[in-house]
């Protein structure tokens, strides 16, 4: 059953991707138009779509900085510690 469901989505991958983009847009729209900002902790959070941008930038930053750090010589061959 689980496999069939996954295959069902995989067969319609382009549609699923488009629906995901629509979902993201709706999420930001909901936040901007309807969500009260009274629980916000800082002024920056009142910027429309602040947390969406934060999430995206955080993800990109983590990947790029980590990979840069890894390729400084931290990532090495698997038998590095073997005698």
């Amino acid at each position: 059953m689980i496999v069939k469901l996954i295959d069902f989505f995989r067969d319609r991958l382009q549609l699923v991707i488009r629906l995901c983009y629509v979902g993201l847009a709706l999420l930001v729209a909901w936040d901007v138009l309807f969500v009260s900002k009274e629980h916000a902790h800082t002024a920056a959070e009142h910027i429309p779509g602040f947390w969406a941008a934060f999430g995206f930038v955080a993800c990109v930053l983590i990947i790029i900085v980590s990979k840069w750090y890894g390729h400084l010589g931290i990532m090495t061959r698997e038998d590095y510690y073997d005698n």
Binding site: L24, A58, I62, I63, I74, M75
Partner: protein, 598 residues
């Protein structure tokens, strides 16, 4: 002398562990479930009976084994519960001693949770390290032994720091060895020594490298236990002794980010999860550092949730390792058709750790971040939020994607072996998954157990702003993941961590012992041979010669002469009568002839 009847749950596990090898085979599986269940029920019966139990007089010491309060109860509850889940997951393991090691390890944790003084704490602290190392050794790979010894050495060093701290504190306070708030406002040397002992077990950098090293190497079911107990017991000890210690906030934030960075680089699924333990424990350490009632509640709630979802994740990745023998992303992929149940359970663990609404992390992690904002520690709160994006990136997306989807890197053998794991492993995962969703969906279950329930009752994670904030962060992280997925393709590499210093340092020491020290030793030996031994032997030989020829020559010469004459005479006396008569007659004849001639 026991002050009141009180049965320590650790005692149930210890006695149970020692009796296990004697249990007949047909009774073994029920027994394996019953013992941890009894320990759990024992903890349940203690609820609402706060106080001090199990005080034993030993020589001059009052040893306190049972301190029951809100803080100890929440940890004891989740640890005994996890012991049941972990044992069910490992029911198929036929080697009794793996279960014995696991139960003694849990008993060590429970001993620390309930102890009231540093002596009992130290006893159980060491039991934890010495029992859990067997969970690494039982993997029985060529490298397991070395990993286990490294684990043990690091923990022994931490234990010694702790012991030194207790002794200094005992002296400085004039005989106080009770375990409670240590006085973080006026820290002295002993405060820092005890702190080092605790944060080493919590895997705070730079004392963290033992964790991915050991947890990546442990047995499949052993790792499920290890991921739950050592670090969370340390969080308990920190919450008990060091609540409000400022330095823990930056340390916790560093941990949260450090684990995320290394998780990006990691190719082994279980090592990736191990780095995420460091990241998640970072939230708890920061929570303890903030130290407000909300923050301590958050640290406890997050430890509670973490034990379940991290156990679930280790069970999911462990079941892949159990079935296929592989744990590296570069040797897996596309397995959703072969292991769909393991995928669903791991995904529930991934969504829980990522703090998705309706899953456990959502109601626990947010409490710590909210406490950070509440005390206006904005940089800490924002950085912890940033780390939570990294958590979803790896545990919620990278792990499931590169094992169950993505490029199929499986060999034919791996593919053929892959299938959903045995029923007991699925049951263990099912229980943990159910609890992850229960905690996230029905907050009073967890919140009523926290040390400050009235503060917890006033905290409401399900408001529109928090939902919108979390969903935006997580879903836009997912967008970033899929856009940069090529950059995250698994590389068959390892990442050098701070264990480099003691692994290479150890090797340097060996080199030093083998090369310069051995060379110097050889030089001294050679010099001794030429300058000492040869003249000595020559002198000895001379004296030997002198002794033989000069002294013995005189003494023994006489003896030799007598012996020589005796020998000659003996030859003459052959014992035969005719010869004797012949010699006697000849002698008499010679004498007579001489006499006549003369």
């Amino acid at each position: 002398m026991i002050t009141d009847f009180w049965l320590h749950p650790a005692l149930i596990l210890i006695v149970g562990a020692f009796l296990l090898p004697l249990i007949p085979k047909w009774l073994k599986r029920p027994y394996l479930v019953i013992i941890p269940t009894l320990a759990f029920l024992d903890v349940i019966t203690m609820q609402g009976h706060n106080g001090t139990y199990g005080v034993i007089q030993f020589l001059d010491w009052h040893l306190t084994f049972g301190r029951i309060d809100g803080l100890s109860m929440v940890f004891a509850y989740i640890m005994t519960l996890m012991c049941i889940i972990g044992t069910i997951y490992g029911l198929h393991v036929e080697e009794d001693y793996q279960h014995v090691a696991a139960w003694l390890y849990v008993a060590g944790s429970l001993g620390v949770i309930f102890c009231g003084d540093y002596l009992v704490l130290f006893l159980f602290w060491e039991l934890m390290a010495f029992a859990s190392v067997f969970l690494v050794w039982f993997r029985r790979r060529p490298q397991s032994l070395a990993v286990g010894y490294r684990y043990l050495l690091v923990h022994t060093a931490g234990g010694l720091a702790l012991l030194a701290g207790f002794i200094l504190r005992y002296k400085a306070t004039g005989g106080d060895y009770s375990f409670g708030p240590i006085g973080v406002d006026a820290p002295s040397l002993y405060t820092y020594l005890i702190l080092i002992g605790f944060i080493l077990n919590a895997a705070v950098p730079p004392f963290h490298a033992w964790l991915p090293d050991a947890y990546g190497e442990a047995t499949v079911s052993g790792a499920v236990f290890m991921c739950a107990f050592t670090t969370k017991t340390a969080v308990y000890a920190l919450a008990r002794g060091f609540a409000g210690m400022d330095i823990l906030v930056p340390l916790g934030v560093c941990m949260a980010l450090y684990g995320v960075v290394y998780a990006v680089l990691e190719n082994d699924s279980r090592r990736l999860l191990a780095y995420h333990i460091i990241s998640q424990v970072g939230y708890m350490v920061a929570g303890v550092g903030i130290g407000t009632e909300l923050a301590i509640n958050g640290a406890c709630a997050h430890a509670f949730a973490h034990i379940l979802y991290k156990g679930l994740l280790f069970m999911g990745c462990g079941s892949v390792l159990h079935m296929t023998g592989k744990s590296k992303f570069s040797e897996l992929g596309g397995l959703y058709k072969k292991m769909p149940m393991a995928f669903v359970f791991t995904m529930i663990g991934g969504l829980s750790i990522s703090a998705f609404p309706l899953f456990s992390g959502f109601v626990s992690k947010a409490m710590i971040v909210a406490a950070g904002f509440e005390v206006h520690n904005y940089w800490a709160a924002f950085l912890l939020t940033l780390a939570s994006a990294g958590t979803f990136l790896h545990t919620g997306l990278k792990v499931p994607y590169f094992i169950w989807f993505g490029k199929n890197n499986c060999s034919q053998e791996t593919w053929d072996k892959a299938a959903d794991p045995p029923w007991n492993m699925q049951l263990g995962m099912g229980i943990a998954a159910f609890l992850c969703i229960l905690i996230g969906s029905y907050t009073p279950y967890l919140y009523n157990m926290l040390p400050y329930p009235q503060v917890a009752a006033g905290y409401h994670p399900y408001n529109a702003y928090h939902l919108s904030e979390t969903l935006q962060i997580l879903l836009f992280t997912a967008l970033g993941f899929f856009l940069l997925i090529k950059k995250l393709a698994p590389e068959p590499k390892i990442s050098i961590d701070l264990d480099w210093f003691y692994r290479m340092g150890g090797r340097g020491f060996l080199w030093l012992a083998e090369k310069p020290i051995q060379w110097a030793d050889s030089c001294v030996s050679e010099a001794y041979r030429y300058l000492g031994l040869i003249p000595l032997m020559t002198t000895a030989r001379f004296w030997s010669w002198f002794d033989w020829h000069a002294i013995d020559g005189v003494v023994d010469g006489i003896a030799r002469t007598v012996r020589g004459i005796g020998g000659t005479v003996r030859n003459v006396q052959s014992g035969q009568l005719q010869y004797n008569i012949f010699y006697a007659v000849s002698f008499v004849a010679v004498v007579l002839v001489l006499y006549v001639l003369a």
